[in-house]
Amino acid sequence: MSAGAQRLDVTVAEVVDVNPLIKRFRFVRTGGGALPTFSGGSHIVVDMDDAGTRRLNPYSLMSDPGQTDSYMISVRRDDNGRGGSLYMHRSVRPGMQMQIGWPVNLFPSDLRAKKHLMIAGGIGITPFLAQMAQLDRIGGRFELHYAARNRTLGAYMDELQTRYGARVQTYLDEEGQAMDLKGLLTSQPFGTHLYVCGPKPMIGWVLDTARTLGWPEGALHSEEFLAPPVGQPFEVELARSGKTIRVGAAQSLLEALEAAGVDAPYLCRGGACGQCETDVCEADGTFEHNDHWLSDAEKASGRKIMPCVSRFRGARLVIDR
């Protein structure tokens, strides 16, 4: 009953330099035919073979969910990351065959909303591109507030303003354009839902402000994929499979499990979905819980770990895998 990671065979149809930091990739189904329909806010996990190292990174689908002839993602290069985005930027070329997971939506539009208020920072724009295309088709009311460092990095700003007009507002940090968040949040019609995706500080700022202003929790939606942080290598004993594995500095525990041939569940690989939750059998040391899933009490209990993003330091760790 594990959420089997079904895969799709795709071919890279197009790679576009959007700006100095961002590349856009278009995938079509290998052998032709339509890709599965999806809902705005969905992501896919891209399977990379980086010179023998397997990397599986989640990226939001940015293409119009109504168009199933191809999927598009945008990847921001992270020069200090573990290598997934660098691989996408340097090695992925048109014509290459790859595998991706089926779309999964952890950031859906709440279709009860009278209005969808979207706040994007930088590359956090991608899920909104798909959501807006979908809402536009079904007559949903939305408004996007989109902040970026400068116009070059504000990928898609011009395009969006042309397409959606006054429903899109942009803010350029380097030109001193700041979002009047409080004003925005106090002037929304009853029944508005708020969505935010972007850098961590921005998400915190938007959600905290909304809560302070009395927005109901059920109307707040955010998405943040964490990249698995690098750390010290550590050893883990696997109670069920009877193996002991070593997690490398730039590897996640989930990746180390997979490399050892242990079937471990996942959906987001970014600490958000809960699918990889694993019981801890024994621990003598300190956990580095990096996920958004476990409650503070669960984190403190030392009985659970999310292998996609969390790590461990200490003498001994035994988990139920």
Partner: protein
């Protein structure tokens, strides 16, 4: 392929019957000689040829009669089909899933032709040919959910996912085992399951919900549920209890074989693509005790299950009053021999 659709009724004169072929493919729900609730879910992948799992949506000899029965129920009680406003998109998702599945699996009965958003749907058994614009509500005679479920066997509910639970926010429910959509609509997973005994404390619902919240596009799952119904009545609703409840008091050793039916629900769960909602088709199959005991393994096993099932389950499922009678009658078909594992009529 060459199925003739039965001329039969699920009310009044109850002319419903299963052909021998229908009995052979009946989804007998007990893989073992005893039964307790569990998180019994498996991938809904195509199963054995001829079985009720062969296709995503099974169409069998009862198709036309079941659709006529649904029409009668909806006519007398329109609230059996409801869809909260935000669920219309999920209704379209379901319509697409059913039309595409049936056109693929039963091309001699169903066809779907698409030219952009202009679609034409042909349902030969029901003599329907309908052109419409996909996602345009006013191009169909009913809402998308009602339109397609008037042409598909089984009940359907649509669950919206939010706040880490599922809400039953739409459905067409006319062949239910004593529960009411009108009562449950808008409820969350644990609320609508509240009346079920034992399972909550066993953690069944917590685990099932956790799994469903992660249900993936393209990976549907299925499970069985079962209960007992006197006479082949599809619409055993709480609203109509006065009409069918008393039938339980009239069973005798002479009539039980013909009148007592094992009612099996093949339930499937599908993540829907545009709405991210979950569709829950609940397909009911009926077999009389006479039908069941034509398969010696099933006769033996049903006797043991009914005899030993927890009394709280027998009470909840509404057959505690007739349990002794059932056991007495079924015991004639149990020679005490061992049964083979699994629920196919013969050893695998």
């Amino acid at each position: 392929m060459g199925i003739e659709f039965n001329k039969e009724t699920f009310r009044d004169d109850y002319t419903f019957k299963n052909s021998p072929a229908a009995v052979r493919r009946f989804p007998f729900p007990f893989p073992e000689d005893d039964y307790m609730y569990s998180v019994n879910m498996e991938p809904h992948v195509p199963g054995r040829k001829g079985s009720v799992f062969e296709h995503t949506f099974d169409v069998d000899e009862h198709y036309l009669a079941e659709m006529r029965d649904r029409e009668l129920v909806l006519k007398s009680d329109p609230l059996r089909c409801q869809s909260l406003p935000h669920m219309t998109l999920a209704g379209w998702d379901l319509l697409e899933l059913i039309m595409e599945s049936k056109a693929r699996d039963y091309p001699h009965w169903f066809e779907l032709h698409k030219s952009g958003d202009r679609w034409t749907w042909i349902n030969r058994p029901m003599e329907i040919e309908q052109s419409f614009t996909f996602l345009k509500d006013d191009t169909l005679p009913y809402g998308p959910l009602e339109y397609i479920t008037r042409q598909t066997q089984g009940d359907f509910t649509l669950q919206d996912q939010r706040d880490n639970t599922l809400y039953i926010d739409a459905g067409t429910v006319t062949t239910q085992a004593d529960w009411s959509l009108d009562f449950d609509v808008g409820m969350a997973f644990h609320e609508w399951h509240a009346p079920v005994p034992l399972a909550h404390n066993m953690g069944v619902f917590d685990r099932a919900l956790k799994f469903l919240l992660k249900l993936q596009l393209g990976s549907p799952v299925r499970r069985f549920n079962w209960t007992m119904t006197v006479d082949p009545l599809l619409d055993t609703s709480p609203e109509n209890y006065p009409k069918w409840g008393p039938s339980k008091t009239t069973l005798t050793m002479d009539t039980i074989g013909k009148r007592q039916h094992l009612r099996v629900e093949l339930q499937t769960l599908h993540r829907l693509p545009r709405s991210n909602a979950i569709a829950f088709p609940i397909r009911a199959y009926l077999a009389s005790f006479d039908d069941i005991v034509t398969m010696p393994k099933w006769g033996r096993r049903l006797h043991r299950v009914v005899r030993d099932v927890h009394p709280d389950l027998a009470t909840y499922k509404g057959f505690i009053r007739n349990r002794d009678l059932m056991v007495q009658w079924l015991s004639q078909y149990d020679d005490g021999k061992p049964t083979s594992p699994g629920w196919w009529p013969e050893p695998e």
